[in-house]
């Protein structure tokens, strides 16, 4: 795909926007509000969140590229099925890799790796972007959206693990700082799914107060 036929430079301004836009003004979670379920389910700890983010980045980038390559061959009426087959194949590959190399994390993620198939971000980006764009652009879009999904996941799980569990990437940071002796206690609510929603909501709040263009007019 590197030999793209367009005259555009590989990292032209437009292409760089494909990478950077999802980070802020077009963030899949905080602006498009996609992929919320997995953001709630696997953000209790940092490690699963990191593994999940990486898996989603890989699946998204490859699925975008593959569908983009086939975009002129797919009959319009069965495109969803084709997309599903592509994504499902990639997800199964990722699942096998995780099981082979990071078995314990794969156990923690359990069904949610398989559920990447149903992650709205992936289907959404394929439908909205890669069916109408060149493979290279689709690749960048996949990386951008996957990474910004992962960014939110990691930020949320950072706060949830730190305040809910007192650890960071399984390192007992609160205990090492000696806060427990001062009477500190972990916040059990951080481990419950509602708190993930509230953390995401606070991120949305913060983001919108920084970028007023995102605030809807009522």
């Amino acid at each position: 795909m590197e030999t793209n036929k367009t005259k555009e430079a590989l990292f032209s301004k437009k292409n760089r926007k494909l990478l950077s836009d999802p980070m802020n003004i077009n963030n899949p979670i905080t602006v498009q509000v996609l992929g919320i379920c997995s953001a709630l389910a696997i953000t209790v700890k940092l490690k699963p969140a990191v593994v999940m983010s990486l898996s989603v980045i890989v699946v998204m980038a490859l699925a975008n590229v593959i569908t983009s390559l086939m975009r002129n061959m797919i009959p319009n009426r069965i495109r969803i099925i084709v997309q599903l087959v592509v994504v499902a194949t990639l997800v199964i590959l990722v699942d096998q890799v995780l099981k082979a190399f990071v078995y314990d994390v794969s156990k923690q993620l359990s069904v949610f790796v398989g559920l990447i198939i149903t992650n709205c971000i992936i289907m959404g980006r394929i439908e909205a972007f890669s069916l109408g764009n060149t493979p290279w652009k689709s690749f960048l879009d996949g990386i951008g959206n996957g990474a910004s999904y992962g960014l939110i996941l990691i930020v949320v799980s950072f706060f949830r693990e730190l305040f809910g569990n007192g650890t960071l990437y399984d390192y007992p940071i609160i205990e090492k700082l000696g806060l427990y002796e001062l009477g500190y206690h972990n916040n059990g609510m951080m481990l419950l799914p509602p708190m993930a929603l509230i953390v995401v909501a606070v991120i949305i709040w913060w983001q919108r107060s920084k970028t007023p263009s995102l605030i809807e007019k009522d």
């Binding site: 009477g183 206690h185 916040n187 059990g188 609510m189 951080m190 419950l192 509230i198 909501a201 606070v202 709040w205």
Partner: protein, 401 residues
């Protein structure tokens, strides 16, 4: 009082135009709390009621004070009783003693101060940020929050719960008057789920810290009446003690009679809705009678015991009275339509007692029931209004024909 007025007058230029401008909301809040505001209507004729938001809130505070003072005595009494330090033979002489009061006050007054500092800190920040005066809404919440907490709650947990409640429960929705949930109960729910070991169980309701040379009395148990019901199906406390309030529990919830007094005061002044309180009573009695009817069909003897207790037990034990009088009647988060208030209150009593009896994870259900009905209140209002419109349209058609 003249000298206080002078202080406010002297410091006004500094906060309106001087370098302490960020402090203006604080200045304004303190001034209007002590003096009648000198705002005048700029145009036309206006009729103003004497009851403004501030007066409303102060009325609720007055209604809360008896239960609060009783709570202070009671927490000291429970502590001294657990340690076997009571020396007088006469019942009420044991209770209203200076030692009891001092012990309770030293525990509870810091809790109140911390709540006000934490909550008003957030309120003042948002008032400054959004350029409006500090609203009086937190005045009541700030007193309610410590009254719903167990005596041994660490102060920093109260502070965090308060900040969470004001921030997520109130300010994100637009501040006082716009909140969906009752802020005081939001704080309690946060504390309950975040720090369950400090908010439930049978260790937290009585302060049993031992000094040098002190020991707990034989057979001491810190369980509340509802905790006993949930585990054994019966209680060692008498309903009369619970009615007076000489039982362990959250600080403000124990004395049913003083809460009743506060409730009557609220109804008499027109601040609290009697419809909500009365329908909550109806709901609680209804579900208790249903439970009494189905009790024999339960298999476990504990469940049978808990289900077959008479309805007035449910009214005096736990926080039914406190929640109904002070939490459910919160005018912002309750249903607004008159018929809606009946439905809203009924389900608070109904669901509260149901959760209390059926869910072993939550020995007391009033908090969850009220928060749930807070969320449902707009829906109830919607259908009541729709119903009104439909009825009037029908009447209109009849009169046209």
């Amino acid at each position: 009082m003249k000298f206080i007025q002078n202080i406010f007058d002297a410091s006004r230029p500094a906060v309106t135009s001087g370098k302490f401008k960020p402090l203006y909301p604080l200045h304004n809040a303190l001034e209007t709390m002590m003096f009648v505001p000198d705002h005048n209507a700029k145009s036309g004729a206006h009729v103003r009621d004497a009851i403004d938001l501030k007066r409303t809130m102060i009325t609720v505070i007055f209604a809360l004070v008896p239960a609060l003072i009783f709570g202070i005595y009671n927490s000291g009494y429970q502590h001294n009783k657990a340690l076997g330090l009571l020396n007088s033979a006469v019942g009420w002489l044991q209770f209203f003693t200076w030692e009891n009061f001092l012990f309770g006050a030293l525990k509870i007054i810091p809790m109140i101060i911390v709540t006000y500092i934490a909550g008003l800190g957030v309120e003042i920040y948002f008032a400054y940020r959004n350029k409006h005066a500090v609203n009086e809404g937190f005045l009541v919440s700030g007193l309610l929050i410590p009254m719903t907490m167990p005596i041994d709650m660490p102060l920093w947990m109260i502070a965090i719960s308060t900040i969470f409640a004001v921030l997520i429960g109130k300010e994100v929705f637009g501040g006082t008057g716009m909140n969906i949930l009752n802020p005081a109960l939001t704080a309690r729910a946060f504390a309950f789920f975040a720090y369950p070991s400090f908010m439930s169980g049978d260790k937290v309701w009585i302060n049993a810290t031992l000094g040098p040379g002190e020991a707990l009395v034989d057979g001491y148990s810190g369980a509340t009446a509802l905790g006993q019901f949930a585990t054994t199906g019966s209680t060692t406390f008498s309903a009369w003690d619970a009615f007076l309030g000489i039982i362990p529990g959250s600080i403000g919830e124990t004395s049913t009679i003083l809460i009743l007094l506060g409730g009557i005061y609220l109804i008499a002044t027109g601040i609290g809705s009697w419809k909500i309180m009365f329908s909550s009573l109806l709901g609680a009695i209804t579900i208790s009678l249903i439970f009494n009817a189905v009790a024999p069909s339960m298999i476990s003897p504990e469940q049978q015991g808990f289900l077959s207790i008479p309805f007035y037990f449910h009214l005096v034990f736990g926080s039914w009275a406190f929640s109904t009088v002070f939490m459910a009647t919160d005018p912002v988060s309750a249903a607004h339509t008159e018929r809606g208030k009946w439905i809203y209150g009924f389900f608070i009593g109904f669901l509260g007692i149901m959760i209390r009896v059926f869910n072993p994870a939550y020995p007391e259900g009033m908090m969850l029931a009220i928060l749930f009905m807070n969320v449902m209140a707009p829906l109830i209002d919607h259908y009541v209004v729709e119903g009104n419109i439909k009825r009037r349209l029908k009447r209109l058609k009849l009169s046209v024909n």
